[in-house]
């Protein structure tokens, strides 16, 4: 377990060795704020993102069943680890907070070990707040069926508004 964590940290360190470009300031309304142990910021001690900024990050589309949707549903959005790299995050845990102030702790390894995304669109359409938008943490249940259990369900935060990187 410890080895794995160390390996994950090492992998992250490798990523962060590349000189990160300074974050641009958002032009559209901010939908995600990242704080905590990060090196790149574009606001007062925080990295803030609008929709285009997030859409520019490397991402994936996964089609899967979830407990909260009817039938096979396609989710599309930036990879969590790409986002963390973008902000130069160096922590072990993420505290993910939703619009209703619900928050869940997600280990950073979930970002490095799995193709976890922050979904921006469901079935090709942007998600409104009423549809669990604007950001929905989606684990790759299609690639890793073993993740399909209550432990990961509770980490599947929707209506995400902020992420705090904790060392």
């Amino acid at each position: 377990m410890r080895a794995k964590v160390l390996a994950s940290a090492a992998a992250l360190a490798m990523l962060f060795c590349q000189p990160a470009l300074a974050l641009d300031a958002p032009t559209d309304p901010v939908i995600l704020t990242i704080t905590g142990a990060i090196t790149e910021t574009n606001s007062d001690g925080a990295a803030v993102f609008d929709l285009p900024m997030l859409q520019d990050l490397p991402g994936r589309t996964g089609t899967m069943e979830t407990p909260w949707t009817e039938g096979e549903t396609a989710f599309d959005g930036p990879l969590l680890r790409a986002l963390l790299a973008e902000v130069g995050a160096h922590g072990k845990t993420l505290r993910v907070t939703a619009l209703n102030d619900y928050s869940a702790e997600v280990p950073v390894s979930d970002a490095t070990d799995y193709e976890t995304i922050l979904a921006l669109a469901m079935n090709g359409k942007p998600m409104s707040v009423r549809d669990k938008g604007p950001l929905f943490m989606v684990y790759p249940f299609d690639l890793n069926p073993e993740l399909y259990n209550e432990k990961y369900f509770s980490r599947s935060v929707w209506q995400i508004k902020a992420i705090e990187v904790i060392e």
């Binding site: 407990p67 949707t69 707040v129 369900f153 929707w158």
Partner: protein, 731 residues
């Protein structure tokens, strides 16, 4: 089987049945256990598939969002007019509540919950209420001006929603708890059932182990008992064997004991028969002789029977003419037949003319006499007919038909059964169903033949037997009985015999044959006599006090090594078993003669090994055949004179030398036809001159596969008869 063994066997069988039952029970229980685990596994899989979002959590979130919105609305209402930032927040709050609603209606929950009427009803009512507020909040989101009354109504609507979501939360909690409790109860039940099953299996296996241990113990015990039983059987067998051996020894001893005085009786009778007696006494002597002979036959039969029983009957293979043998047998019963007023008829099939067969004439004669005397015994004023034939080239058949009282159908099957301890007496021999027929059957079967009978009560019987034989050319067409003393060489003979009467008989016989006789009363005296005198022939009794025949023979042979001379030593014995033969040979004897000794047999012994019908000690049964047929020789002497015969012999031997060369040549190149021609010439010429053994040998060689050493063998045999012939001429 002992009772203990029987008991053990039953116990083992019972234990085996119990084991089978327990094995089946365990197997069934195991199957049930496997099925249970299968069910558990399937259930676990179903659980895995049915991983659901937590309904309680979703309802709680809904309740919470409803409260948050309601309270935010109340707060906003109390600070009218509402600020823009508050409007945005209220709008977001509504959106969140809305999203909760859709989650609640879309998401998958436990089926029991999803189908519960309370849950569905509450959900529908909440849904209606929330969706009913949608136009208001849509308008608010699009920054339309707010109407205070409408705001108040919406707020009170939202406040009214709270008790409903609260109730739904309670209902869901109750329902989820019930489901959980049910699931726990089911798991418990399955667990208990499994535990019970495992317990039963454990008990069953424990019983199985106990039973197997018991079975093992029983098996061990039974094995012990079986070993014991086997030991007992083995002991019983040994005892029976010992008993049987004792019986055989007793019979052999009895036979010997009876034959010794009988020897004397028959010998003296034969001497008396040659004495000058009044006619009346002569008839008496004849009766003594025939009765003695009959008694001897009975003893021989008993001994034969014992031998057959033990499977150590030694059969001989001697050429004889079956016609002549049948004639002799008829003569034996002729007297009794005459007494009974029976006619005797002998028919010898023409296919047997001039043929001799190779078999055991002594035994055939005994069987024939048995059947003939039975036939005569049970026929009065009738006819007894003996028919001898060759039904197949290598099979001889004797058939005795009588016109007597016949045998009942019931008696027929057990006719040939041997006597048993209870009803077997020698007297039954003349009863027609006693020892005699049993011996006949055993004898014939021992010779590889068949014996049988056809009979109807009141109309006579037909007894028959068939034997496999080899046919050879009869050496002579016919021979007349000759004086046993005729042309006998005079030899210096030593008789070593402890029995005074036997000694007397032997002395008188030999005197009658014109021999020079010296007597010794035991082995020791025999040895000293042999050392002192120069004997051609020593007749040696086997059983003697002080020194027995074998020891004496060894001594004599030892002494002869110094003198370089060699006397013929012939054993006189009542027991002519194989062991005796072997012992005689080992001791250095040349031949043996069975007691009682007759004048004719004695004459043969005196004549020499070539002419003796006493059995030389040799494993080669063919050499039982006399080397030279003395009767034929006498006939030839009468016809041509001694010198003429000598000339004939010499021309035969010179011819034979030439033929032998041809044979050697033919054999060396494997020319079977030429070899056969040579053998045929040799056979014909030798038969004419009475060289019976040689003639038989060459005849036999013709039918056998040619072997390379045949020439040498014939050469040797020619030398033997030449020597014998020269001795005869010299005499």
């Amino acid at each position: 089987m002992t009772p203990a063994l029987r008991h053990s066997r039953r116990a083992i069988k019972r234990a085996g049945r119990e084991t089978t039952f327990l094995v089946v029970l365990s197997a069934v229980l195991m199957a049930i256990l496997v099925a249970t685990f299968g069910y558990l596994y399937a259930r676990q899989n179903a659980l895995q598939d049915g991983i659901r979002e937590d309904a309680l959590w979703a309802v709680y979130q809904l309740d919470r969002e409803a409260r948050t919105l309601a309270h935010a609305m109340s707060a906003a209402q109390s600070q009218w007019p509402v600020e823009a930032s508050r409007i945005t927040e209220l709008s977001l709050r509504y959106d969140i509540l809305y999203s909760r609603l859709s989650i609640l209606s879309n998401a998958k929950y436990e089926t029991s919950l999803a189908s519960s009427a309370g849950f569905v009803g509450s959900r529908a009512s909440i849904r209606d209420k929330v969706l009913g507020l949608e136009p208001f909040f849509n308008a608010m989101a699009s920054s339309a001006p707010l109407d205070r009354d409408e705001f108040a109504v919406t707020t009170s609507d939202l406040l009214a929603l709270i008790p409903i979501t609260e109730r739904m939360l309670t209902d869901t909690n109750t329902s989820v708890s019930a489901v959980r409790a049910d699931a726990r109860a089911e798991v418990m039940r399955i667990q208990q059932a499994t535990a019970l099953l495992v317990l039963i299996i454990a008990v069953s296996i424990a019983l199985l182990i106990l039973n197997l241990m018991r079975q093992l113990k029983l098996t061990r015990r039974t094995t012990g008992q079986l070993e014991e039983a086997a030991n007992e059987i083995s002991k019983a067998y040994t005892a029976a064997e010992a008993g049987n051996r004792a019986k055989s020894e007793f019979m052999a001893v009895m036979g010997h004991e009876i034959r010794t005085p009988l020897n004397a009786i028959l010998g003296m009778t034969e001497l008396l028969a040659h004495a000058d007696l009044p006619e009346e006494d002569r008839r008496g002597v004849k009766v003594i002789a025939s009765s003695g002979q009959a008694l001897l036959e009975i003893i021989n039969e008993i001994l034969d029977f014992a031998k057959i029983e033990h499977g150590d009957l030694v059969l001989e293979t001697i050429p004889f003419e079956p016609g002549k043998l049948a004639e002799d047998a008829m003569e034996v019963v002729a007297g009794r037949a005459a007494d009974q007023g029976d006619r005797l008829a002998l028919e010898v099939s023409s296919s047997l003319q001039g043929l001799a067969v190779l078999s055991d004439p002594t035994r055939i004669r005994r069987v024939l006499l048995n059947l003939l005397s039975n036939a005569v015994k049970f026929t009065q004023n009738g006819e007894v007919r003996l028919h001898v034939s060759l039904p197949a080239p290598n099979r001889i058949r004797f058939e005795i038909a009588d016109t007597g009282i016949g045998i009942s159908a019931e008696a027929l099957p057990r006719l040939f059964n041997p006597f048993t301890q209870e009803d077997g007496t020698i007297s039954r021999r003349f009863g027609g169903t006693g020892l005699g027929l049993a011996i006949c059957k055993k004898t014939i079967e021992a010779m590889g033949g068949d014996i049988g009978v056809q009979s109807t009560a009141g109309s006579g019987s037909v007894f028959w037997f068939e034997l496999p034989v080899e046919t050879v050319q009869a050496p002579l067409a016919d021979t007349a009985s000759i004086d046993p003393s005729a042309a006998l060489p005079v030899r210096n003979i030593l008789v070593v015999e402890d029995n005074a009467v036997n000694r007397d008989v032997a002395q008188r016989f030999l005197k009658k044959l014109g021999q020079r006789v010296t007597m010794a009363i035991d082995g020791l005296e025999g040895v000293s006599q042999a050392k002192a005198g120069d004997f051609d022939l020593i007749l040696m009794d086997m059983q003697m006090p002080v020194m027995d025949g074998l020891a004496a023979t060894r001594e004599i042979r030892l002494h002869e090594l110094q003198t370089g001379k060699r006397a013929r030593i012939v054993a006189m014995t009542a027991n002519a078993s194989d062991t005796d033969r072997a012992l005689c040979m080992e001791a250095g004897m040349d031949a043996f003669v069975a007691k009682p000794i007759t004048l004719a047999r004695l004459a043969e012994i005196v004549r020499g090994p070539e002419a003796s019908s006493s059995s030389p000690i040799s494993s080669d049964t063919h050499s039982d055949y006399p080397v030279i047929d003395q009767e034929r020789r006498l006939e030839l002497t009468e016809a041509f004179g001694p010198d003429g015969l000598k000339e004939l012999d010499e021309s035969f031997f010179s011819d034979a030398a030439g033929i032998l060369r041809a044979l050697h040549a033919a054999l060396s190149v494997g020319d079977a036809a030429s070899a056969d021609r040579a053998l045929h010439s040799l056979k014909g010429a030798s038969a004419n001159l009475g060289f019976v053994d040689f003639s038989t040998f060459t005849e036999r060689a013709r039918s056998e596969t040619l072997r390379a050493d045949l020439g040498t063998e014939i050469e040797k045999r020619l030398a033997t008869i030449r020597e014998a012939g020269e001795q005869a001429h010299a005499a």
